[in-house]
Symmetry: C2
Subunit: 207 residues, 2 copies
DNA sequence: GCAGCTATATGAGCACGCTCATTTTTATCT
DNA sequence: AGATAAAAATGAGCGTGCTCATATAGCTGC
């Protein structure tokens, strides 16, 4: 068993696929790793040759979706809009890709994107965070924030973003309009602050 | 075994006390519920007559600390300061009381205060959140925000607050100065936005 | 003090995520 | 082909948090 790089990738995809089905039909917590392994035609232990933990498995789905969201955003929007609008499109693109997974995302995001306890957290979550923040930085740069934006500002951005995701996972309004309002408000808040002149630490300044 | 209401409370306190010691010396995840039960002189299962889950047990400690923080705040500050300053004092009071537990708070807060998945979350966490937000509402009211502040605004406040807590649990700077800066920034941001006139949903307006 | 009742304590046992020694499969080299 | 070594699959088994049938202790009315 040396070359079968392709076969291995295939198995990986099959696991993710079956896992998604199970998570959607019975929820994240209720689905056992044994269930997933069986559904993918593997022994219980084999699953962990592909993913170090159940959490990481689920987070792979999330990360992939968010990455596609970023790609969508880059493809469609050159960034001619206003800053807040631009960020709104980024966030929306992510949510659109995450949409099919929404029913089971609560517990997954809680464990893997939570701002707490960066050490224990699974690598996939950390990477998703970095990928998103990189894109945000790029947008800010494009809008004239030349210096690397404040560490503090980005920390706050991530807090707001998590709040949005969290709210969205439980938003029962028809077309998730409530989430839309929250995104608007959060981003306006962020942009207004970062663009203005704030006493304490001094936000990055626009042109 | 009927009356011992007082005795029961005593046992509860003993559990919390021993658990704190264990959590501090070996961390939250590493400490088993069996460890705690034994340390409190109980059988493994008895622990769960007092706390429905390990998470809830830990969260009781947090909630108590935060409640004391709020009490401290109310005792010491009539609220003569500026709004942002007032909120800063509230947050600081909480952190001061939480300080002794800091070493093991990461995983605990992650699971119990996380904005995700309100359903699964333990009741203690939800209550702590409501208690804190009630106090925030009171402060806003005192500063002239007559209408109940926007649901949206409070959701955002909580996101920011969680971000602060999260950052604080991992803050390695000498006197947690970095956290101080984050609190300043976050609250300025919040106050500035809530006081100003923000297009989308319309924040509560000051006098 | 002795039944009777009920609140509490007990610990065997369950299901879970995950590990690891072992077995099986597969590619490469002669 | 056969031998060899590496990669991958296996499933028994471990330590968790937590449950639940059972046992025990404490109060009440006699």
């Amino acid at each position: 068993m040396r070359i079968s790089q392709a076969a291995k990738e295939e198995t990986r995809e099959r696991i993710l696929e079956r896992a998604t089905v199970l998570f959607l039909s019975q929820g994240f917590e209720t689905t056992t790793t044994r269930d997933i392994a069986t559904a993918a035609g593997l022994a219980a232990g084999t699953l962990f040759n592909y993913f170090p933990s159940k959490e990481t498995l689920a987070m792979s789905l999330v990360r992939e979706a968010l990455a596609e969201g970023i790609a969508d955003y880059q493809r469609r929007h050159g960034g001619t809009e206003e800053l807040a609008e631009d960020l709104f499109l980024l966030v929306s693109s992510g949510l659109r890709r995450l949409r099919p997974l929404r029913p089971f995302l609560g517990p997954v995001l809680e464990r893997s994107l939570s701002p707490f306890c960066r050490k224990t957290t699974c690598p996939e979550g950390e990477e998703a965070r970095l990928e998103h923040l990189t894109q945000v930085r790029e947008i800010l740069f494009r809008h004239g924030f030349v210096s690397t934006p404040d560490e503090v500002a980005l920390t706050i951005y991530w807090s707001l973003y998590l709040g949005i995701l969290a709210f969205w996972t439980g938003d029962e309004t028809p077309q998730q309009e409530a989430t839309r309002a929250l995104i608007d408000y959060s981003l306006q808040m962020f942009v207004q602050t970062i663009a203005g002149n704030l006493p304490p630490t001094g936000a990055a300044h626009g042109n």
